[in-house]
Symmetry: C4
């Protein structure tokens, strides 16, 4: 079943695979792109494409959350980011990206981010921010860390959040602690909420299954791995290549479906998805949807203005994300073009949804769920 | 038989190999290059070397189609390219390559190509173009996409096309569609034609076998994978490394030979063939012939003047090919030198047929069919 | 058990793994970093973190040995380095690093080092150096080569050395020689000493077990492999990737524990540890502690002032180490920051102990010994 | 036995290994370098180190052949190179290397070499050249191609050649040809000679065994693979990674020893040996000696003056070798330093024999034959 190797005498490791190791192998009758649906539904919320934004201030402002929602995908605001701490976020971000552009020292923008995050969260301001998105009529989602979920959730719910994303580098269903501040018990937390919760990230089958048992509507698999940006592997030595991590979480989904007699928890892939081809591979490995970071950061509307950083880059004592310049061009494409094209870019960076749709059509599948069964190859 | 790996729990992928993973292992008595034949026959047409051109305007004009034919290989005109849309193709191409040379933005020449392909096909002009090649007495081949095969074929046949190449990124024997415009049913289409049809590309055994059953004389395996040029993998996430794809299509050829009691359908490898060594490896993996793109683009006669782009680069909404500069030198070698040498280039770029011939001789084989059985090694 | 491959007919090799091939897979309940202990004890000496310095003059002066000791880790002075040969070591090192910075010829600083090491060891000076560290109240450790262990040890003990490190590129428990100068028999040597001995390096299970049987308190596994610095593989063709070497030595530790009915010999990993993630992986593969070279060389206090070279770089006729610039910045972090943070560096270079602690916490383990059982994955 | 993989349906390839994939694993008692012998004997000729030069004019002039001989290794003159065609070879080589240095076009020096080799071989001049080496009292060896062996050998023998090297890119024991010019039958050829013959190169067990049965004293395995210089793989698609090729030839040596009841044919590795570590690995894989190209080209005495090209670079119509700059430094080390050190170079480029000796000592072996049994590891 699992492919195990002896790395040394008496020490076993599992062989695992990256998305870039995997190719989709078309072997059925092709079909028309027009007859393919990329739609996806999470709890009561339907989306035209299986895409969530990474919850970083580099991507998601109230304005881009609204734009993403109108384009049929889910923008997730970082409730612990700058929008709940400062009123002039655009100006603050401009200071950070100016530092990143000018200073060859890669830690300078991190230091600035750490300073900006040292400001306390202003719950009133956070509420206003969420309410702006709600007022626009799109599905409203916000991300909290396990550490601050209890504290911030009331504000978020009051302001109209419809989907809560509980997201840390590596989280588990139940945290062990004997300290005074009682950590989050996800099961209890979710049981008491009226809105669906998406939780993650996890790297393996067991933790994914545990999270599913908390009552989460979706489980995020991966930790946002992005070459040059997310640095969890360098800092913690942790990681499971995404193709394997997704397939394991999909196995947990099947196991949980069986043990509950039919509760379907969505698997959301978060990491190494840079092109339409990567997105297609993530679905093909078993994901129901995927988190996009750098691809959305290409857009003209993205607050990072050509720069990307994951939310973990702002950690006060141990940042696990770096600054990445994703686009140097003055004329950046719109979010609509990034998602739906048409495009003159031949590298799969734009028309990301169109690329997924065409991949499904060429492989002969008409919906996402079926496409999870397409043939796969690995190289060498 | 097939080498399968678990990429994750319950998700299997097949292990596959690139041409660059493969080495030819000589283990027989060597023989003289002079006693080796590289000849190849497709239907009634005999060629001195097992080479077709990629059907891109970067390589094939009426003039180069004639030159290639006289050199014993097959030039395939793209019936949906610029030669059927514009009278001053050389000038138009010069505009595109000038953009590629001047503009650091890699999408600029793509955008220009898209504009040039927006002009309608002038069937009269297309007919004249084909007729010019026919008049020169060489075998006349043209490429159509599955979408436009029905519409363009009468013009092509009337103008004298002897071999029809039905070629798309990924095609299947029968396309599923409920749309108004009825898609191509290849079997019916081929049955009604008097000329042999080569169809592709495919990536796997099953689709190759299906195409063989349509009555095609040859099946193209691969999608023209060329590092830096063809970008199907980035856009669609699809692909099978060429050594495996060729071997699988060769297995389909054997299966079809068996089920028909003797109908031999040629396997034509299209992708990752840049040098004489690559060509030898493609044959060694089981191909009867190969499509060459970038190697022919080196030639002085190539209309791209040192630039290469695959035909998929002109797609109106989702290009899957890029511009690649293959030669910066003013003094480019002739097509004859590219194919037959002699050469002072030690990298296998020139004298491509001579390199294949010598590889066969060193390995002790005297014709292409036998050489498909030479020993192979993969690295590590 | 061991994963063997035929590299050719009748010739077998073992498949082995680097630390960078390995990922830690968290699959238990996470816990608080505050409840994690990184403490480690070697014989009577307890350390707050499982870290020893590489015994090179680039890192360890009497001052940095004292600082490292106060920070809870072990600085090892090279008894055969410059501190026992010259009184003005800082000035001498400044000459060497100036050469490294100015001369593009990479052998120039090596040549200078060779000259400086040609000066004889002044045992009085060496004794004074050791005594300075002893006077500061931290654990005093010094490194000798097997060749000079007999000769230098009395001086070292008299000056107050508490831990002796017998360290060469590759050493064995018993050296074969018929020459006049009788080589070191480690078992006899250790039996006659009152202080604990750490010995190495070794690459495999058998040699590790032999060293354990000499009575050593710890065995160093690896030869300080550092990309760009240690060159044992280029010079001798020798090496075993560290993940495998550590796991094998840990197996020897278990075997020796069993055969002695309870004597625990510590396994100390020496090679390829550049970040907090690497340190976590080394422990996860089975190490009790690790030798750090380049990470400590980042510090403001390091005598190499941004340059690193292993002690083997000074060999008179066959150097097996090179000069590596680890930091060009004027403002280097303190040793305290390198070890304990906080940091604005997202790449795992700083807060090395904090990164290890957080990795253990995320994986749900509370001490180093337990963490040796965490799940592992290897890539592809 | 052989590790086979399916590259596609019904097509099998063997898994093979490069020298750089292999590590030597020391696991015995170390011994003193002084007690290690690197001596080697081929027929009646004894050498202090298991090294032959590649037969290229870039390395071997009459003067360097003499120097190499005095240093205890074997310099092989290329009887079909420039020394038998021109009287002012140094000046001619200076023209070629000047072109290589000035012209960015990599084919310019090849073209020049092709022109210089178009001059006929002057057998009188060739005889004088050989006689000069003979007069110096060192073992005299010359290389001929299979094509010209019959024609040139009488001249060579008359001039005093003691060892004949019959060397082509890929050769076999018996060549198949129906052409007028009867090709070389090695068995007959060798039987009629009084001097020992070394023949090659070969890539596999079967061809190696066939060459042994011709009566050759040594078989060259490999085709001089040198990254950036030898281009046989690009041109012919042929090759077997050296670790595998050497091990297979060593198996042929054992088989032939068995079938003849004791005739030992030496296996000489030719390819990918750039450092002392590579040399140690080649012996460890089963070679009795090795051909060195680029390492010797570093030396001040080498006629290429810092440039290297294999003899195949001069082929008139299909060169399979390129120009490689191995040393830009004005002060190049002597051949003696390259072979025997001492050195201040930490990368295994100098003191090549010393590095081999130390590797054997660290691994606990005292002669080359025993060292062929040392433990090996491959990576990942």
């Amino acid at each position: 079943m699992r492919d195990l190797v002896d790395i040394g005498m008496g020490r076993i490791a599992r062989r695992t695979y990256e998305l870039e190791d995997v190719d989709i192998v078309p072997s059925r009758r092709t079909r028309s792109s027009k007859e393919v649906s990329t739609a996806w539904q999470l709890d009561a919320y339907r989306f035209e494409a299986p895409i969530l934004s990474h919850p970083t201030d580099a991507l998601v402002s109230p304005d881009t959350a609204i734009t993403l929602g109108k384009l049929g995908v889910l923008g997730v605001l970082n409730a612990e980011g700058l929008w709940g701490r400062h009123r002039d976020v655009e100006a603050k971000i401009a200071e950070v990206t100016a530092l990143a552009a000018q200073d060859p020292d890669p830690t300078a923008p991190i230091r600035k981010l750490q300073q900006l995050h040292a400001a306390p969260i202003d719950t009133e301001l956070l509420g206003e921010t969420i309410a702006r998105v709600r007022a626009a009529g799109v599905t409203v989602a916000a991300r909290v860390s396990p550490q601050h979920a209890q504290e911030l959730t009331p504000t978020l719910l009051k302001a109209g959040v419809e989907l809560l994303v509980v997201h840390g580098t590596i989280i588990s269903a139940e945290h062990v602690s004997h300290a005074d501040d009682e950590p989050l018990n996800l099961k209890t937390f979710i049981a008491e909420l009226d809105v669906p919760v998406v939780a993650g990230g996890v790297c393996d089958h067991r933790t994914a299954l545990h999270l599913m048992r908390t009552g989460a509507a979706g489980v995020i698999v991966g930790y946002g791995a992005t070459e040059g940006a997310t640095t969890t592997n360098e800092v913690l030595g942790m990681g499971v290549p995404m193709a394997t991590a997704i397939a394991d979480a999909a196995a947990a989904r099947r196991d949980y479906l069986d043990e509950t007699g039919g509760r379907y928890v969505h698997v959301i892939a978060d990491g190494d998805i840079h092109t339409s081809g990567d997105l297609a591979k993530a679905i093909a490995c078993g994901a129901d949807a995927a988190v996009l970071g750098t691809p959305l950061a290409l857009a003209a509307e993205a607050p990072g203005h050509g720069w990307y950083w994951p939310s973990a880059a702002a950690h006060p004592s141990m940042p696990r994300g770096a600054f990445l310049q994703v686009e140097t061009d003055e004329e950046r494409p719109s979010l609509d073009t990034v998602l739906n094209g048409p495009t003159d870019d031949p590298y799969g960076n734009l028309n990301v949804v169109g690329g997924l749709r065409r991949s499904m059509a060429k492989a002969g599948y008409s919906d996402l769920k079926e496409f999870q069964k397409v043939g796969l190859a690995v190289h060498g």
